[in-house]
Every structure is written in structure tokens, then in C-alpha cells.
């Protein structure tokens, strides 16, 4: 296990303290300037010499973010190749370049570090966050980046009900959105009505990028408040109303049009030259001449001139590109365990090395029995904790790990990964041994002791003990294999199960309508238990599949769905409190109580610990970590800072 997962989550406790320490580094005036080494890319130097671009000193903020290169300082040049899929793969770009929020994650996924904000102050009860921006920072078109842009992004955009019918969740606590005020050109204050201790960590995730997403000088022209003629603009662009026009031109965090407009200024290391549109066959991004980060020599980042994303309709052809060495760094879409042998075999031919992706999830194959099943008999069966325990004991996890996961896992239920400070032994390991006798005894005792002609158990009402588990074969082929083995193990204890392979939209629709008997999905929350706790309490309307009606009750504050039992209600309360608690020791205690309650309730049945995956990096690409977390909250490879990657000539 690597360093990352050992330390994963430490930062949740030291977050406020750690931030102050890191901020000190970036504001060190006069970084060591090595004599003679170029401070900017040759093509930019040429533009400066021709008078087409202001000199470097005027383009950088007075206190740029100083990035310490992973191995060594790099050289300028080169074009980095990556692959995208044809449809809805905008986050493939986001993960590479769009990691430039007010704050960001460190490499270990443990601490929040300065980004656009060079430092910040938090009041004692975590209701006020004051961010200090970098004086002189510019958008990619050379216009100043100030507190006004952030106020505009939140107050005028995110809180505009025509544009966002509800304010993005990261900016909301207890149903009330943040209020953003400008203190000075470089100081901006976020105020919440109730404590929101998790705000900084949420800001560091991709969904926390709104504050730095909308340049006021550009995007305000698409708003009626700033431009009374916006209706004409919309009409000329063939759009029905101004919000459509705004979205098409300024985008949002995770929609394709964020990368579909070459005119929109950004603060990313590379800016779009050839856009990601419906007809595109590739996307090209070139360096941002105003990028606000430098290396330890004071040389402006990024090192690499441009990024080329080729668009493949077919994921298999991405694999072909990877093994023939036509992608410089790629993990997206090819990172399944099944591909590992092929990727390893072709390392020499393709001139690449393997990149380890540390699983951020807890569980490779989480089985969610629908505890809130519509059919009373099924509900009675699934909501019985002992029934679930019996089924868990009936699974031969060792066989599954050996056959499906090439021996690279261990029996596991759920909970933070081993080595994580919040690791919970009981939650992780209970009922993971294979004990068919004990399972049979429990089932007999529960009244499922009569059997039909084929040896399957009958429920007290005379029906066979039978249910279907929904799985999406195109997405997770390994889960289908796992379930087939589980089916065999359960036949041995007289329980009949059907592996229900379905299309992914149907999978979601069945979940939304509470029509499923059971479903599988990789269980999250291994490295980021508080950012994605859907298996620890019913909190995610699409993800907490063991009791979606409880989730609806929770997110609607009791208006919709079904009222959950005490244990769940207690956890929901604890989770809300933990998010609001600035005192990290207290927060840790609350999380511990959530995990205790979760272990007692035993709602989900897991098979084995989530397995690490692999990507490829070309041998000449430097400063790439050997391993990093594979997570959405830590949108790999973004926080590994691709701006400091470089090509060894």
C-alpha cells in the first residue's frame, strides 16, 4: 500500500492548521532566481520581443503560486497527447486542466493547499471564510482577476434562479447559500449562516470550482442585468433564452460547453484552441500566457506547450493508441483490471511505464439489498439484519478474489481503507469469513427452513427465496463475474439469485423508482469517507441504493420519501453536525459514531477491498508521480499538477 492511502484523510483533521503552513510558502517573496535559465516559454518570449505580449513580470501576479516540481525543474516544449471519448467526456479535460479553484488538494489527498487564494482566514465557528487573492493575477486574455469576478460568479451567476434553479450544493449549508462580499480588490469573504467546517475541502473538489469559473468582464455580456440587449444576442446565436446562451458561452463545471468556446477567458494552465463540440474529432489546448504559477526557479508554468486530446468513439481504439505509444499519459477509460496484462505486455513496444491508480473506494463489489422494497414480503426479508448476515457468511470471498481479481484484494465489508485514520475494524471485517453451516443455521432459524424440490428455501408464505441483483455489464464486467460466483455460493445455502444484467439508464431508472430487489456498485468512501459517505448513511439519492426512499426523506428534510429508522436518523444528524464542526477532534468522534452505528446496522454486503488500477505514462514524460489516488474528489491527474510535467528531450 502506498503512502497516499496510509495518510489519506489525515488532512481532514489538520486542515485548518495545514492551510496556514502551506500558505507561508507561496507568499515567500523573491523565489530563488537561477541565472540564465529561461523564465518563460520561447514562443512567448518571441511574442514579447515582437511587442505582441506584455513582458513576463506584467503577466504574473506579484505573488505567483510557487510549485515545487516533483523530481526536478523542467524544460519548455512539447505536445502532450491524451484520448477522449466522443460523448460526454468533458470531465476528461476537467481532470487535466480544470483544477484551478480557490484552493486545491495536495498530492497525498490529505490537505487543502493554496490555489488562486494565497491564504485565507477562518473564524472560530467556521461561518466566515476570508480569501486573499494574488495581486496582479490575470485571466488568460490579460484582464485582471479580482474579487469582483468571484462576487459575480456566486452572487450574479450561482444565485441567479434563472441560471441555476437551485444554488450548487457546495455553496449551501443547512439549506442556505453563502453570501459573498468584496472586502478589497484582492480580498473576498464567504459568509454562511451556520458553521460549514467542510467548506475548504469541498472547494478543493471539482464541484467547488464555481467561484473561479466566470470572468465578469466576459460573461456579464450574456446577462440581462449587465447587458439589456442580451435577447438579441441569444436570437442571433439561435438560442431560445439568455440562460441557454450563457451556458453555451461560459459553460459550467461539468458540461461539455465549458470547453466549447475558444473565446472564454480562463485561469487554467492551457486554454482551448480547438473546442470540444458535437462535431469535433480532437480538442487542442495551448499554454495560457498569463498563467499564474511558477516553478521554484521562478520560471512560468506550464512547461508543456500544448495538449492534444484525440476523440475516439470506441474505447477499444483508445487501448490500441495506448499500447502503440500514441498517448503520453492516459488512465481514463483504459484503467480496468482486465486491461492490465495487455498494458504490461506492451510496455517496451509502446515506450511507456505503468502508472498506479490507488483505489479511493472502499469496496470493489458492494451488494445493496433494497431494505425499502415495495413488496412487503421482500422488504421483510431484506430488512432483517440476520438475513443479510447469513448471505454475507455464505459468500466464498477467497475464491472470488483469486478467480476474478487475480488475487489482488482481501475480504472486506466497507469503511475507510486499512491505514486510514478512520479505519473501522468491525465495519470492515465482520461476517467476511465463509461459513455455510452458520449461514444455513441462521436461515433455518429465521423461518426459511422449508425447501422446494430443487433444494431452494421457501419463505414462510410459500414463495421461493429468490431475488435479482441489477448490474451493468458494459460498465463493470468484473462485477458480473463476481455475481455469478456469488450466485453459486448462495445456491449452496438454498438461496436463488438472478444476475440481472441491464443497460445503465435502466439501472438508474429502476433505482429512482425503487423497483430493484438489489443492485451492485463499487462502494466509495475508502479515502474520502466524509466527501462520499453514501454507504455509511442514506445520503445520496442515486447512490445509497439500499434505501433510496430514506435518502429522499433526508434530502427533502422529511417532506418526501420514507422516514428511516433511529440508527439512520442519528447518523444523518451526526453527518450534518460533523460537516459543521470546525473542531477536528470533535468531528473525528462524530465520524467514529457514524461508523459504529453503520457497523451495527450492517446494511450493505461487501465482497472485497477495491483494487488498484493502472494507466500508462510515456517514458519521456517527467515529474509524473508513480502512483496517485483514483478519485473524483481528487480529480486525477489534476492535483498531481500536469503544468509541471515536462518532456525529457
Amino acid at each position: 500500500m502506498s503512502e497516499v492511502s496510509k495518510n489519506g484523510g489525515i488532512g481532514r483533521r489538520s486542515i485548518l492548521k495545514g492551510a496556514a503552513g502551506a500558505a507561508a510558502l507561496s507568499s515567500v517573496p523573491g523565489v530563488v532566481f537561477a541565472q540564465g535559465a529561461p523564465k518563460e516559454a520561447p514562443d512567448l518570449a518571441k511574442l514579447v520581443a515582437e511587442g505582441k505580449l506584455p513582458p513576463l513580470a506584467q503577466r504574473l501576479p506579484s505573488a505567483p503560486l510557487v510549485v515545487k516540481p516533483l523530481e526536478k525543474t523542467g524544460v519548455y516544449g512539447g505536445s502532450l497527447r491524451r484520448g477522449l471519448r466522443g460523448s460526454a467526456d468533458h470531465n476528461g479535460i476537467l481532470r487535466m486542466v480544470g483544477n484551478q479553484g480557490l484552493v486545491r488538494w495536495n498530492l497525498g489527498f490529505t490537505e487543502v493547499e493554496p490555489g488562486v487564494a494565497q491564504r485565507w482566514d477562518v473564524n472560530a465557528n467556521a461561518t466566515e471564510f476570508t480569501f486573499h487573492l494574488r495581486p496582479g493575477m490575470k485571466w488568460s486574455d490579460g484582464k485582471p482577476f479580482t474579487a469582483d469576478d468571484i462576487v459575480f460568479a456566486i452572487e450574479d451567476c450561482c444565485k441567479n434562479s434563472e441560471l441555476y434553479r437551485s444554488v450548487p450544493s457546495v455553496l449551501v449549508i443547512n439549506g442556505k447559500p453563502a453570501t459573498v462580499t468584496k472586502v478589497s480588490d484582492t480580498v473576498v469573504k464567504f459568509t454562511f449562516e451556520s458553521p460549514y467546517a467542510m467548506f475548504l475541502e469541498n472547494l478543493a473538489t471539482p464541484l467547488g470550482q464555481q467561484p473561479t469559473l466566470f470572468p465578469k468582464h466576459y460573461c456579464s455580456q450574456f446577462m440581462p442585468k449587465y447587458n439589456p440587449n442580451v435577447a438579441d444576442l441569444a436570437k442571433a446565436a439561435n438560442m431560445s433564452d439568455w440562460p441557454s446562451l450563457f451556458r453555451a458561452r461560459c459553460g459550467d463545471i461539468e458540461i461539455p460547453s465549458r470547453w466549447g468556446n475558444v473565446d472564454k477567458p480562463t485561469i487554467d494552465p492551457w486554454v482551448v484552441r480547438e473546442a470540444y463540440t458535437g462535431g469535433a474529432t480532437r480538442v487542442v489546448m495551448e499554454r495560457n500566457p498569463y498563467f499564474w504559477q511558477v516553478d521554484t526557479n521562478g520560471a512560468q508554468l506550464p512547461y508543456i506547450d500544448r495538449l492534444t486530446f484525440s476523440i475516439s468513439q470506441d474505447v477499444e481504439s483508445l487501448m490500441l493508441d495506448a499500447v502503440s505509444g500514441r498517448l503520453d499519459i492516459q488512465d481514463r477509460h483504459i484503467d480496468s483490471l482486465q486491461n492490465k496484462p495487455t498494458l504490461s505486455q506492451n510496455m517496451q513496444r509502446g515506450g511507456y511505464r505503468l502508472l498506479e491508480l490507488i483505489a479511493s473506494g472502499a469496496q470493489q463489489c458492494q451488494i445493496y439489498f433494497n431494505i425499502t422494497h415495495k413488496d412487503p414480503a421482500m422488504r421483510a426479508m431484506f430488512s432483517n439484519k440476520e438475513f443479510r448476515q447469513a448471505l454475507s457468511l455464505g459468500i466464498d470471498r477467497k475464491e472470488i478474489i483469486d478467480l476474478v481479481y487475480l488475487g489482488q484484494s482481501e475480504p472486506y465489508q466497507t469503511g475507510p481503507r486499512p491505514g486510514h485514520p478512520w479505519y473501522h475494524e468491525k465495519l470492515a471485517r465482520q461476517f467476511t469469513e465463509h461459513n455455510a453451516k452458520q449461514a444455513n443455521d441462521i436461515l433455518d432459524r429465521l423461518g426459511y427452513n422449508r425447501k422446494d424440490a430443487q433444494g431452494f428455501r421457501l419463505r414462510p408464505d410459500g414463495q421461493k427465496v429468490f431475488f435479482a441483483i441489477d448490474v451493468i455489464p458494459t460498465l463493470y464486467p468484473d462485477l458480473v463475474d463476481t455475481l455469478e460466483l456469488v450466485r453459486r455460493h448462495w445456491v449452496a445455502i438454498g438461496v436463488d439469485m438472478k444476475v440481472n444484467t441491464i443497460e445503465r439508464a435502466l439501472y438508474y431508472t429502476r433505482g429512482d423508482n425503487n423497483d430493484h430487489d438489489a443492485a451492485v456498485w463499487p462502494g466509495p468512501g475508502g479515502l474520502d469517507p466524509i466527501l462520499d459517505p453514501r454507504d455509511y448513511l442514506a445520503q445520496h439519492p442515486q447512490g445509497s441504493r439500499y434505501a433510496i426512499p430514506w435518502t429522499l426523506w433526508y434530502v427533502s428534510n422529511g417532506k418526501d420519501g420514507q422516514e428511516p429508522p433511529e440508527s439512520q436518523k442519528r447518523r444523518m444528524k451526526l453527518f450534518d453536525d460533523a460537516r459543521a464542526t470546525a473542531d477536528l477532534a470533535k468531528r473525528g468522534a462524530m465520524v467514529k459514531e457514524i461508523m459504529d452505528l453503520c457497523a451495527d446496522a450492517f446494511e450493505t454486503v461487501g465482497v472485497c477491498l477495491a483494487v488498484n488500477n493502472f494507466g500508462v505514462v510515456r517514458n519521456n514524460l517527467q515529474n509524473v508521480p508513480k502512483a496517485y489516488p483514483n478519485s473524483w474528489s481528487w480529480p486525477n491527474p489534476g492535483p498531481a499538477m500536469p503544468q509541471q510535467f515536462f518532456f525529457q528531450s
Binding site: 492534444t308 490500441l320 429512482d512
Partner: protein
Amino acid sequence: MLRFLVTRFLWMVPSLFVISFLAFVLIQLPPGDYVTTYIATLAASNEVVDQNQAADLRQRFGLDQPMIVQYWKWITGILLRGDFGLSFEWQQPVSELIWERMALTLVLTFSTLLATWAIALPVGVYSAVRKYSIGDYVATFFSFLGLAIPSFLLALVLMYLAAVEWGQEVGGLFSEKYQTAPWSWGKVLDLLTHLWIPVIILAVSGTASLIRVMRANMLDELNRAYVTTARAKGLSEFRLLIKYPVRLALNPFISTIAWLLPNLVSGSIIVAIVLSLPTAGPLLLQSLMAQDMYLAGAFILLICGLTLIGSLISDILLAIVDPRIRLE
């Protein structure tokens, strides 16, 4: 003839209406809607959509309204304003997206068609005239082989060989330099150097079946009395063939024009996906999978419109070529 044309045109209007409605219903039939698919696609990479946003999207795109209302909005937009709507996924007007790809699709399909006919017609005639000769057997052998190999497999094999064995780029229709360059002679030449691979792949199966059809038709005609008569009158063998049997044997080629036009869009989807060709097919499939309703709907409407026009053209051409067919 004129009356026939007018009636046919008039019939096309209600047909298109019915088709547009059926298309809309069919696109909506799979469970879920664009937002479900959007969430599912992101979840495939373990990415999460802001819960507030998901509900917003559904409302903004009008997906929470009954289907008939959605259809009415769509069809009136097209009829009254020529507005095909906005693609959910790309936030771009649908018409923009479609036309962008149609030109290249046309080029590819017509090149394939020409290549197919240029090979299939002479070979078909030859193997009919020289029935059971070595040449006939060779042609028959290869045409069965061509029929048997799925074109996507051929594309995959070619790609694998090119990428792994020869280290060459096969996908796409342009080299990197010209991919987004404006049209120029250089770009046209570049297109021609790339075009032959998909054309060959697509032409293989088409050629094979056409050879068989041509051969069978020719054999029917060759034994007719008029051929014997013509030969007895001393007409040269070549002129005789071209003037009568070949002309009649062309009949099935012309009847298939009706399918040819819709094939422009949908015929080569799998090959286009495998080879990453910037044609209309992959975009159509993508929009269907994403349940991007207006984009998919416009494509299907276009395909159906093309089918109707195609069958009209077939009928007219048949009447001209084959004197036995009469319109009245």
C-alpha cells in the same frame, strides 16, 4: 408523369408527420431520459453530479413535461421557425451539428458507391458471360469471402496491423495538419490519401453482394430470345451485351437507390466508429445513446426524408431505364 410526381410529393407530407411522431416516441421508449443517461455516463467514471443540478437540468430541458407536449414544442419549432432545437449535450443548435458532418458523409458514401459499382459491374458481367470459368470461380470465391467478413472486423484488423505492425495512423479522414484547416487543394489531396481505407472497407461487402446480383440477373437475360436474335443478326458481342442484357440487369441497382440515401447517414456507423471517421453516423449513435432527443430526432427525420426522396428517384429512374415499367 407530372401528376404522378405531384401526388407522390403530397403523400410525403403526412408520411413525414407520422414518421416524425413515431421517431420521437421511439427515442423516448428506452427507460430514463437525457439526465438519467448523463448521470449514468458520469458515474461510469465514478464522477458525481451535483444533486441540485440534476433536478435543474430536467426542468430546464422540459423533460418533466408529458411527451406529447415535448413533441409539440419540437415539431412546431421546426415547422414555424426552422429551428431544430438545441442539443442537450452540446448546448449547440442541432442544425449546426448536423450539417457540419453531412458533407464528409456525402463524400465518403459516394466514393464508396462509385468504387463498389466500378468493381462489381464489370466483374459481375464477366463472371456471367464466362460462367464456370476460372475467372468466375475466383470472383465467386472472393465475393463470398467479402460477404462473410463483417466490415467492422476488417476495419479492426486493418487498424491493428497498421498501428502495431507498421506504426501508422489509420483512423480519421485527415492528417493532423489538416484536421481543422480551412478547405484547400492540400486538404483535398490529404482527404484522398486517407479516404481509400474506409472506402475499401465499406466497399468490400457491397461489392460482393452486387457481383452476385449482377451475375444472376445477367444469366437470366443471356438466355433470352432477343439475345440470340441479336447475335444472329451479327451484332458484335460487346455491343450486344451493353445494349440489352446489361441495361436490364441494372434494374436492381436502381431500385436500391431508395436505400442508398438513408445509408448516407446510417449505413457505415460501426466502421465509422471503429475508424473514428468524422461522419454523421457516430454522431447519430452518440445522440441516441445519450438520449439527446432533439439531435437524434433531427437525424432520424433526415434519414426518413432521404428514404422518401430516394424511393421517388428510384421510381423515376426505373421508368426511364426499363421500358416495361409504366407509371400509370
